[in-house]
């Protein structure tokens, strides 16, 4: 009875809460077998089936859902409101003017999205219906993938893709491992090893597998691909055995089985709960600075629009106060209108004015900007200079929203390893108790035949030392996670070593480890393989030594070390530990610490990556205790990571230091050049690394981040131990500020090249102290500000000993400092992901440490050197292009609508449109859309080579300079000036006179058409004046769109269009063109409109030239003659094809 109640209670608590997520773990019954009675209540939880739904819509909800989603966008919603207003009330323009473009945009988008969704449906169907082999009642049966349920045991053969997230039970390989490639998940094409549960790996046939009686408890699905904790309870003889499950047991949906004949595995997450499906969710959107300015401008224009409408409405009623004006005998209202309440009439008038002027909000701008960004990003993809021959990769654009942000970067945060350096490790030396060993005669990583492999710099060691030396070599050979792959089983060729007859390769997620194991190989100890939990080593005497691997305490970036516990053939148990010096030395109790420390520091200054190796002999009792600690931590379902860390901390202590290794990581090609260019471009470069200070600063010197004359400021634990943080900070800021004060005088005397700049080095621990929120009230809160102050005056900052999250914190701190600078983070590894996501622009490097950074970045490039072109050329271009696009759009819509506003003063505020409906509709859609779109795609104000050669040009566009309020006001003022010229020009021409030699008069539509013609030409010519790069496409589009306007006008007025209920434009355009003064006034007005802009340009260029303009002019003078000839020859050669 009691059990029943508890079952009931659990049931109630589970179902009443409703949300499955409330239960933080789930229980899976393998093959849906009930657990033996007494152990636990059997509660069949409800899980979703294995249907993947990537499609957004169904046949039924497509129209409403799609409409809803489209109208959530501001632009569409704005148009919809205008359209509805036009439908409901009597407005000056027909609903078609906004309805048609809206309908067009909505339909095209809906068709596109519908088609894409149909494709997704098809893909989903293909996936959901593909056959899956399931073990049922001891037999393998075939099922559709979508019918797969949690708890089913699945049979997967080689090269098949896993249908859902599975726990590996057993594989065809004896050791219960299987190889998997996750290329489709995270892009890593290397093979990863997964392990079967130890107790089930022997079950290798379907009968055996179906006899497994076990339950799996695991956490509810979460999206992190690399995290999983669970526990399996196996009931053997009704005696439950609990085993831990980790991510090494979890096969993810989407990964493919490789090099393994078959596996049996049990489904634990299905359908939309698989990690792959959970990762579909898009990341948070980043917005660029340009987009923010755009929205600010939009608000201004909205205010202008509303105030225009209010002014006109108010004036209308003032003007109409005289009834003879309101309703002269020839223009009466209908009875219904007369009876309407004045407030309703006024409101209707207000709305009508809003509709009349609504074009001032450039709705088409959003569409154009989106197209520009999408199409423009192809130039990054297409760039041949950003293609890397070696990797065979080109740049990747994950989001095109941030193109122009690349031109605005002020702070660059870069990772060191793999980003500045190649992450191509080479073993340089090792040091055992102060004796240095250098493998010599290295040629492409292969040992030269006949060499005696060791060259000792130091005095030769005695026999006792020889033991220590061999222990060290064994330690390095054992303490790692390197895998050995035979050549024919590996797709990606990595590192080759010769081992007997067949070639094998070392593969590891850490290149350091591979370098170390290879280095040991050259020193005489060769790691052969791991077989049946035994590691095999070939020692100097060509004998195989076998060690049983008892535990692996894997590496993590917080602990910064890893350990293995092995039992050697003699039965002794050793713990070998390898890690960063800072994490090893405090745990060492004996060994020649001083000598090793000295060598480590020496190597670090050389820029080498050093690791220390230590060991500990474990007595059987100690080993028992270790086992106990570890198994308890591993079985925990909650907080397992923390418990493991605690256990590791207890185990890795009382070490005996053996020695240290040094591995070189060469700088990436042109890294120094790139950093120098970024500096010249006014960017501040920060290196954020987990490496230690000496190594990192050596790299910084090598990469010219610090130069010889850079004054280094240190803010490290070492200093803060001597002085209080407070004093150090104030000291530093005084140094910096004193110099800064002095420098302004120097720069004025023109010695700016000579000044010494500052470089700051800070380490993770100090940074934490600086960032810690104030405890002593006001005083410590200032540390952050003070620190930022110091940073601002340093051209380069090196942050070492950083944890991944700290990297993101730094980026965030700079991002939110009071200048709100634009930040860029670049990195290659998983530890850079957090900062890549935090920064305004995140760039991933296609490095050796997998694809995580690339997947989470906004842009990815093959090498660090490509950053130069990415920022200096592409970023610069995109910024120039987009800012002109934005300003021009606002400008052209002011010019468009302002005459219409002025016309209201001359038509009794009656909302009479100045232009014909067709012109209103097509102005933004076709007459003026293509030239600016093309400009925003291919404009080059300066050649790309010069941009690259002269990085200081980048400063010209810093701080969003082309979208400052002053330039926005200039553009708007220019727009209003042009509008006034156009309107009053036409007004005075029409003032009581005839235009033609036959004495006939023109009407209001001719008036509007005249203004409109001037408008289209002026606006297009204005863009032509701004174009610095006239390719044949520019000529084609600019002259083509003007021609299109003329042809359209001729056609529109040339025919009685049967579908129109008015023919007001009939022959208006032709009549206008038949009159001489119309031509003359069109020319006059266009010239008058463009005149001030040209004068302003010339005078500004002469009086206050920007660097860009100076270079433009200089280039022109120097290279005008030859370049013309060159261009001509190019064109002629092109023609001859």
């Amino acid at each position: 009875m009691g059990m029943d109640f508890s079952t009931l209670r659990t049931l109630i608590s589970r179902y009443c809460v409703g949300e499955e997520n409330w239960v933080d773990s789930r229980t899976v019954y393998i093959s849906h077998k009930e657990p033996p009675p007494g152990t636990e209540a059997f509660i069949q939880q409800r899980f979703p089936d294995n249907r993947i739904v990537s499609s957004k819509y169904t046949f039924w909800n497509f129209i409403p859902k799609n409409m809803f989603e489209q109208f959530r966008r501001v632009a569409n919603f704005y148009f919809l409101v205008i359209f509805l207003v036009q439908l409901i009330i009597d407005t000056p323009t027909s609903p078609i003017t906004s309805g048609l473009p809206l309908f067009f945009v909505i339909t095209v988008t809906a068709i596109k999205q519908g088609y894409e969704d149909w494709l997704r449906h098809k893909a989903d169907n293909a996936v959901n219906k593909c056959p899956v082999h399931v073990v049922q009642d001891g037999k393998v049966t075939c099922k559709q993938s979508r019918k797969l349920r949690v708890g089913d045991v699945v049979f997967v053969t080689e090269d098949e893709t896993f249908p859902c997230d599975l726990i590996l039970l057993s594989s065809s390989r004896d050791d219960g491992t299987c190889f998997v490639t996750t290329a489709s998940l995270d892009g890593e094409s290397s093979h990863k090893t997964y392990y079967a549960v130890q107790d089930t790996k022997a079950y290798k046939t379907e009968e055996e597998v179906s006899s497994i009686h076990a339950t799996i408890e695991c956490e509810q699905p979460q999206s992190d691909l690399y995290k999983f904790v669970g526990r399996i309870n196996i009931y053997m003889n009704n005696e439950p055995v609990a085993r831990p499950l980790g991510s090494e047991n979890l096969l993810l949906r989407g990964a493919t089985l490789k090099n393994t004949e078959y596996i049996y595995a049990v489904a634990i997450y299905t359908g939309m709960e698989t990690k792959m499906a959970l990762n579909y969710q898009s990341k948070s959107q980043k917005r660029s600075a340009v987009e923010k300015s755009m929205n600010d401008y939009l608000v201004v224009y909205l205010c202008i629009l509303i105030s225009k409408a209010i002014i006109n409405t108010a004036l209308k009623y003032v003007w109409q106060a005289d009834p003879n004006r309101d309703e002269p005998w020839h223009n009466e209202r209908t009875e219904a209108e007369r009876q309407r309440h004045i407030l309703i009439r006024a409101f209707t008038d207000f709305l009508a004015f809003m509709v009349l002027f609504n074009y001032i909000i450039p709705v088409s701008m959003y569409v154009t900007v989106e197209m520009q960004k999408f199409l423009g990003s192809y130039f990054i993809l297409w760039d041949d200079e950003m293609f890397d021959e070696e990797l065979g990769e080109r740049a990747v654009v994950n989001t095109s929203d941030l193109n122009e942000e690349l031109g605005q970067v002020e702070y660059v945060f870069t990772d060191k390893t793999g980003t500045l350096t190649e992450n191509n490790m080479e073993f340089i030396e090792c040091c055992v108790d102060g004796h240095v060993y250098v493998p010599h005669a290295i040629c492409n990583g292969q040992v030269m035949p006949g060499s005696d492999t060791i060259d000792m710099i130091d005095t030769s060691p005695g026999p006792d030392a020889r033991d220590r030396e061999e222990l060290f070599f064994r330690a390095v050979c054992l303490c790692h996670t390197v895998q050995v792959k035979e050549e024919e089983t590996v797709d990606g060729i990595k590192h080759g070593i010769h081992q007997g007859k067949s070639s094998s390769f070392y593969i590891s997620s850490s290149p350091d480890e591979v370098a170390l194991v290879e280095g040991m190989n050259r020193l005489g100890f060769t790691y052969l393989r791991q077989k049946d939990s035994h590691m095999e080593i070939l020692n100097r005497d060509d004998k195989v030594e076998r060690f049983e691997v008892l535990e692996v305490l894997s590496f993590d970036s917080v602990r910064r070390r890893m350990s293995v516990i092995v039992r050697c053939s003699t039965g002794e148990v050793y713990l070998f530990c390898k890690g960063a010096d800072s994490s090893i030395f405090p745990r060492v109790i004996s060994g020649k610490v001083d000598q090793v420390k000295a060598r480590v520091e020496h190597n670090a200054v050389e820029g080498l990556r050093t690791l220390c190796v230590a060991y500990r002999c474990l007595s059987p009792e100690q080993y028992q205790e270790v086992c106990h600690l570890l198994s308890r931590a591993k079985l925990a379902l909650q907080d397992r990571d923390r418990q493991l860390a605690e256990a590791y901390d207890l185990i890795e202590k009382d070490l005996i230091l053996l020695g240290a290794t040094a591995v070189e990581d060469r700088l990436q090609e042109k890294a120094a050049d790139t950093i120098e260019s970024l500096h010249k471009a006014g960017m501040k470069v920060w290196v954020l690394t987990g490496d230690k200070m000496e190594t990192a600063s050596a790299t910084c010197y090598a990469s010219k981040l610090f130069r010889r004359n850079t004054q280094i400021l240190e803010l490290t634990t070492k200093r803060t131990e001597e002085q209080s943080l407070h004093d150090v900070l104030f000291d530093l800021s005084r140094t910096v500020l004193r110099h800064y004060g002095g420098m302004t005088r120097e720069t004025s005397s023109g010695l700016s090249d000579d000044y010494t700049d500052f470089g700051l080095i800070i380490d993770g621990a100090t940074l934490t102290a600086v960032m810690r929120p104030g405890q002593e009230g006001s005083n410590s809160g200032n540390y952050k500000e003070l620190f930022l102050d110091i940073c601002r005056n340093c051209s380069a900052v090196l942050c070492c000993r950083m944890a991944p999250l700290q990297k993101a914190q730094i980026v965030k701190m700079i991002k939110t400092s009071k200048e709100h600078p634009i930040t860029l983070a670049i990195g290659d590894g998983a530890n850079d992901v957090s900062m890549i996501q935090e920064a305004h622009v995140g760039i991933g490097i296609m490095g050796k440490e997998g694809r995580q950074a690339v997947r989470n970045s906004d842009y990815a490039i093959p090498k660090f050197k490509h950053l130069k072109k990415m920022l200096l050329v592409h970023g610069h271009y995109y910024y120039i292009r987009v800012s002109e696009l934005v300003q021009y759009f606002f400008y052209k819509n002011v010019v468009f609508i302002f005459p219409q506003f002025l016309y209201q003063f001359f038509c009794g505020f009656s909302q009479q449109p100045l232009y014909d409906t067709a012109y209103l509709t097509l102005y933004n859609i076709s007459f003026t859309s293509l030239p600016i779109l093309l400009y925003s795609l291919i404009e080059q104000h300066i050649n790309a080579d010069i941009l690259k050669k002269d990085p200081s040009l980048y400063k010209d566009i810093a701080k969003n300079s082309l979208l400052k309020w002053s330039s926005f006001i200039y553009w708007t003022a220019l727009g209003i000036y042009d509008a006034i010229v156009m309107f009053f020009g036409a007004y005075f021409l029409f003032d009581n006179t005839t235009f033609t030699s036959n004495g006939q008069m023109f009407g209001n539509w001719t008036f509007g058409t005249l203004v409109f013609t001037v408008l289209v030409f002026t606006v297009t010519f204005k863009l032509a004046l701004d174009t610095h790069y006239w390719t044949w496409i520019n000529h084609f589009v600019i002259w083509g769109s003007l021609l299109f306007f003329v042809v359209f006008s001729l056609l529109w007025g040339g025919i009685i269009w049967p579908f129109l209920n008015y023919q007001r434009m009939y022959y208006v355009f032709m009549q206008m063109l038949s009159s001489g003064p119309a031509w003359l006034s069109i020319i006059l007005l266009i010239t008058t409109c463009l005149l001030p802009d040209v004068v302003k340009k010339v005078i500004c260029r002469a009086l206050w030239p920007t660097t860009t303009e100076r270079i433009q002019t200089k280039r022109r003078c120097l290279a005008s003659e030859p370049s013309t000839i060159f261009m001509l020859s190019q064109t002629s050669s092109r023609m001859s094809f």
């Binding site: 760039d383 065979g392 020009g985 004495g999 009407g1003 001489g1076 003064p1077 260029r1101 064109t1131």
Partner: protein
């Protein structure tokens, strides 16, 4: 350039377009181009401006207000809205020959033909001769769509309803004798309005098409009675009607009434005394409007318009002035291209 290296499948296309290296003309608005350009444009504009100004100065215009607000005016008697069929006479004299062809306009001020409510109030189909719209005029025409007894109005709408209905007769007084100056009313409207846009219904006699309809409320005669003498100037294609139906752009406007280019007046109006007989029907005082008649001749550039010439002169001189200013700036601040 042939690439010998092994091509990677992922390698981007190496074309001028994808690499942003299309051959291009890269002009810069530097002083070297702009200053001579401005001088040239300025001089050209001044030339055109002088030409326009002289042409415009030679055009003769004679404008006479006949609203009748002035007590001394003969038309003052007609300003009383109760006076029916009022005729008044204006006398004036011309000193020198008014060169022909002379165009005779009537002008209205403060008259908002460009008012939206006024402008939409018409039925294009009806005016195109569509009989369906005779019976059921477009709702746009309201409140001039149906009369009080719900008969459809043809032509409907406020524009048609408010057709200008003053008529003029011009006499030259030679030795006390009144000689009629012949008016030519052909071709005063747009050719396309007359031939394409407006059409009478295809019914003979025309009058039958209008059975069951009423004439606009303001009108004294129906649209088919506008010109009995000439069927090609009757109904919707009456030239005066067409001229009126083309709405003016601004509240002060002129519309062409007649041309004077026949018989003795082919060369224009000789010097002498003239008398204009006006049948004064059109009320404008209620909205403070004015009525006037204008005699004008035209040149190739149309009617008298000093603005265009002056504007050309001003902009032309501005161009020249600006080029001088830029030259001073150039000389004083030495453009970078100089070093």
């Amino acid at each position: 350039m042939v690439r010998i290296k092994k091509e990677s499948p992922d390698r981007p296309d190496n074309t001028a377009f994808t690499q942003q290296r299309l051959p291009a003309w890269q002009p810069i608005l530097s002083a070297g181009i702009v200053i001579p350009g401005f001088v040239l444009i300025g001089l050209a504009f001044i030339g055109v401006g002088v030409g326009l100004f002289i042409t415009s100065r030679d055009i003769q215009v004679l404008e006479i207000d006949y609203t009748g607000t002035d007590q001394t005016s003969d038309c003052n008697k007609c300003t009383n809205p109760n006076t029916k069929n009022c005729v008044c006479t204006l006398s004036f004299n011309i000193d020198t020959l008014f060169k022909g062809p002379v165009f005779f306009y009537y002008g209205l001020t403060n008259y908002f033909q460009n008012h939206r409510r006024y402008g939409v109030s018409r039925d294009y189909k009806q005016l195109y001769g569509d009989l369906a719209n005779f019976k059921d005029p477009s709702t746009d025409c309201a409140p001039y769509r149906l009369d009080s007894r719900n008969n459809p109005i043809v032509p409907c709408g406020s524009v048609a309803n408010s057709l200008f209905n003053d008529t003029f007769k011009l006499y030259q007084i030679v030795n006390g004798q009144r000689n009629v100056v012949p008016f030519d009313g052909k071709g005063i409207a747009w050719w396309t309005d007359y031939n394409v846009k407006f059409k009478n219904p295809d019914v003979t006699p025309l009058q039958n098409a209008f059975n069951g309809t009423v004439k606009p409320l303001f009108w004294t005669k129906a649209v088919y009675e506008l010109d009995f003498s000439d069927p090609s100037n009757n109904g919707f294609i009456n030239q005066d009607f067409l001229v009126w139906m083309r709405r003016a752009a601004l509240p002060n406007f002129r519309k062409l009434y007649r041309r004077i280019a026949e018989e003795n007046y082919t060369n224009g109006l000789p010097a002498g005394n003239y008398s204009l007989e006006i049948s004064y029907n059109y009320p404008v005082l209620s909205f403070n409007g004015r009525k006037k008649v204008v005699f004008s001749n035209v040149s190739w550039m149309g009617g008298k318009n000093d603005f265009l010439g002056i504007a050309y002169l001003v902009i032309g001189s501005l161009c020249v002035v600006m080029s001088v200013v830029m030259l001073i700036v150039y000389a004083k601040f030495k453009f970078p291209e100089d070093d």
